[in-house]
Symmetry: C2
Subunit: 231 residues, 2 copies
């Protein structure tokens, strides 16, 4: 029997056999069979980012559509749904596109947040919905590299499938200290602060470290600009 | 030597000895010593939720302050910073307060998201910044249990420190199918859909399962109401 199974990290996936259902209910339950960290998953080096912009203004629709439209996405796979946009591809091109979208959505005096989930290595992932460019020439960076504004940020790293995950987290937090973007740690998140260019340079370096050292990781980041809340 | 070390999951923590710095740089690097999943951490059963409301309207400040002010937080510890609010305490009281804040921030026709990180069992957590009520009498539920509106939602579960984390994820996703709030799975998230009461009932049940079965877990949820985006 071949059935279509909804997969947690990566949408629908066809799998033979590893499907279960109770006798009474024919519900399309999910299962991941024997997939664990470092097994199954995509064989290509696909990094993904699911993100949502939230401009807190009556003009939020215009800002979101305008910024997303200005991004050169020729080197990433993309999809937009009711809650967010997803880019998938080579890590540097995904980050380039996400950065461009964020930079282009900044408006003077408008409070906005961007929630972003960066992920790579999920056992439920597969070799689909991606575009892997052969080169490393960034398409958006030349147009946005001279745009500067201050950003507040919180993030958390989740290295999956290993007991010593705190070591990886410490490394990434300490990298933020080294790069002078670290602000403080608090419950469930670390806080960063700095110019938009410095922050994205840091996340480029941090995710490069994760790519090299962690089989499956998720990084949850929230960027915030123009908050009316005082320090 | 006693030093203060910034901790990833839980703010500042004093620790003796387990501190490192290079010879040249005296930077306040973080370290978690030998802490791993299921070791160190708080001894109390503290669940926490860090959340941010994003009403996409010029009136966002009024809505956020109004809704946060309407929550009875007598049974949780709370703190608000520039990016979010944190409640900590017994799981049921934390969820009761978060639900109240979300329900009270709904406005007819106003698109709003709430990003919430629920966490329990971090090795970096400690027995501080919490309030554990002795009883289970919910303070907000009686006032909000009859308020209904449709919600779109995405969430992801991260069971830490174990190789077989996909099994726990599958269980929680299948629970959503059983409770008729499951919509679909996509890259990096599962999507739910339903009345606000049904969704929070589901998350109550899902986090109860996680509490009982996973030493350290994080659940990332984004709720969305009144989105102008069509299906």
């Amino acid at each position: 029997m071949t059935v279509y199974i909804a997969f947690f990290c990566t949408g629908l996936r066809e799998r033979k056999g590893a499907f279960f259902m109770s006798e009474n209910e024919k519900k399309p339950y999910v299962t991941y069979g024997s997939c664990g960290c470092g097994t199954c998953g995509a064989t290509k080096e696909i990094t993904g980012c699911r993100f949502s912009l939230s401009p807190m203004t009556d003009q939020f629709v215009d800002i979101i559509l305008d910024s997303i439209g200005k991004v050169d996405t020729s080197k990433v796979w993309k999809a937009t749904d009711k809650l967010s946009t997803v880019y998938r591809g080579k890590r540097n091109h995904v980050l380039d596109a996400v950065k461009a979208c964020f930079v282009r959505s900044w408006r003077e005096g408008v409070h906005m947040t961007m929630e972003a989930t960066i992920s790579r290595g999920c056992p439920g992932d597969r070799d689909a919905d991606y575009f892997l460019s052969e080169d490393d020439v960034l398409l958006n960076e030349p147009q946005i590299q001279d745009i500067h504004f201050p950003v507040d940020c919180k993030f958390a790293l989740y290295p999956m499938g290993v007991e010593n995950y705190m070591e990886y987290i410490a490394h990434v937090v300490n990298l933020a200290i080294d790069r002078n973007v670290y602000d403080k740690s608090s419950h469930y998140a670390s806080f960063l602060k700095g110019d938009v260019q410095d922050l994205f340079r840091y996340f480029d370096e941090a995710t490069e470290y994760c790519d090299k050292n962690i089989k499956h990781y998720i990084m949850e980041i929230t960027f915030s600009v123009n908050s009316p809340t005082a320090e």
